[in-house]
């Protein structure tokens, strides 16, 4: 447990979170490992977890009948996977497929949701962090959509 707490404390995502909250979050955390080609979750699964990727690579994919499994984004060391646990109705909207063997810390979203409801300050701390993550992902997605490398018309 102690090591997990230290790892979480050193992660950019939990930077400056009070030791008290860090201990609380650690109570909802566990080490996990995923093998190549394993699906961590699929579209429509109940979203009860999110992950801090420590090592490895994961593809967020959507299946299209005519194009197959399309990767929309890849995540790797240092990235956070999954925010659907935070937003009702708590279902994943992408498949998460392991490209390279992945080690991560899984955080139990159900447990965190409960703790956030009980303590809104903790809820605010986590929402601040997820808002900033969402803002960053939105920005990069917009850049991706701009098709910057296409020929100017």
């Amino acid at each position: 447990m102690e090591t997990l707490e230290r790892i979480l404390a050193q992660h950019q995502f939990f930077k400056d979170l009070s030791p008290e909250y860090l201990t609380l979050v650690t109570g909802c955390a566990s080490n996990v490992r995923f093998e190549q080609d394993q699906n961590i979750f699929r579209v429509g699964d109940e979203a009860n977890q999110f992950y801090l990727i420590r090592e490895g690579r994961i593809a967020l994919q959507l299946f299209s009948p005519d194009r197959g499994h399309i990767t929309v984004e890849t995540l790797s060391e240092g990235d956070i996977l999954g925010w659907s646990w935070l937003i009702p109705p708590y279902y994943y909207v992408f498949d998460a497929k392991v490209l390279d063997v992945t080690r991560a810390i899984a955080l139990d979203g159900k447990c965190l949701r409960r703790k956030c409801e009980e303590d809104h300050n903790l809820g605010y701390e986590l929402l601040k962090r997820f808002s900033s993550l969402l803002e960053h992902r939105l920005e990069t997605t917009r850049l991706q959509l701009l098709d910057l490398y296409g020929v100017r018309s």
Partner: protein, 288 residues
């Protein structure tokens, strides 16, 4: 412009004047992707090596069609002059039709260069977007040939799709080196692609450089360069250590016509390579 260029029958004169193209013969054409190709050129007269600094460009004249600025993409230590061009319009599409033995007019080299000397003893991060890889290649080759003088060297490369990746064989060789880290990402992947997907700026946090002692060289579309620069600054890289290569339409290439003016600077002679603070204020003024 074309008629002036075609007046150049005296070849000694041609070599001497920056306004007159010197004929170069295509020795080799290599198709990199569906719309991008590399030509290797030798001067038609004499065997002199083409001296240039990494980051500089030439004006390439397709006889009877027109002239375009194209960065030099070859190794500065190489024996031929190398250019990698994407066929987008009249001149570049006509150039794509040329074959071995055909002649191109060359004026140059022009412009400022990458700060390979200033980068010594520092970590160096190259960020290329799309057709931005060729202008960086000479600097990367130069640094790799004096590898011991530099800290960590990283190449971050973003393209539109996997089939747009340039220099595939060389990228494989670079990836196999232990003293160079290469990260590639694409904006859009087809099924079966197992590489990275996402914009090139997302690779910066993976690069693991020492931000207090890093020099960054960036080439790509302006929006990509702007966001890349912001990301470097966020990570603590000194803005003075961030260099970008800018593009504007050009005519003379030597600071005479004003065609490439970007606010108070001329891209052809004050650039194309700029230190970020030199052009910072201009980059956000889209009307320039």
């Amino acid at each position: 412009m074309a008629s002036v260029l075609e007046l150049s029958s005296d070849r000694t004169e041609v070599a001497a004047s920056p306004m007159l193209p010197r004929p170069f013969v295509i020795k080799k054409v290599r198709r990199e992707t569906e719309d991008t190709f590399t030509v290797e050129l030798d001067p038609r007269e004499g065997r002199s090596r083409f001296e240039f600094l990494p980051g500089q460009f030439n004006m390439l004249y397709v006889y009877g069609v027109g002239e375009v600025p194209i960065s030099i993409s070859g190794d500065p230590a190489g024996s031929t002059l190398v250019h990698t061009t994407r066929a987008v319009g009249a001149v570049t599409k006509a150039m794509a039709e040329l074959r071995r033995g055909d002649v191109i007019g060359i004026r140059g080299p022009f412009g400022t260069s990458w700060p390979v000397a200033e980068a010594r003893n520092k970590d160096v991060v190259f960020v290329a977007g799309g057709i931005g890889l060729p202008p960086l290649r000479p600097a990367l080759c130069e640094i790799l040939s004096h590898r011991e003088s530099y800290g960590k060297v990283v190449l971050l490369y973003g393209t539109r799709t996997p089939s747009d990746i340039l220099f595939k064989d060389e990228l494989e060789q670079w990836r196999a080196r232990f003293d160079l880290e290469v990260f590639i990402t694409v904006d859009r992947a087809s099924a079966g692609w197992r590489g990275n997907v996402g914009v090139v700026t997302t690779l910066i946090q993976k690069a693991g450089f020492d931000s207090r002692n890093t020099l960054a060289m960036i080439v790509g579309p302006e929006v990509m360069m702007r966001f890349t620069t912001i990301e470097f600054i966020k990570r603590g890289v000194n803005p003075d250590s961030i260099y970008l290569s800018m593009e504007r339409n050009m005519k003379c290439g030597i600071g005479l016509c004003g065609h490439c003016q970007f606010g108070p600077v001329f891209i052809c002679k004050d650039g194309p390579v700029f230190r970020y603070p030199q052009i910072k204020d201009l980059m956000v003024k889209w009307e320039i």
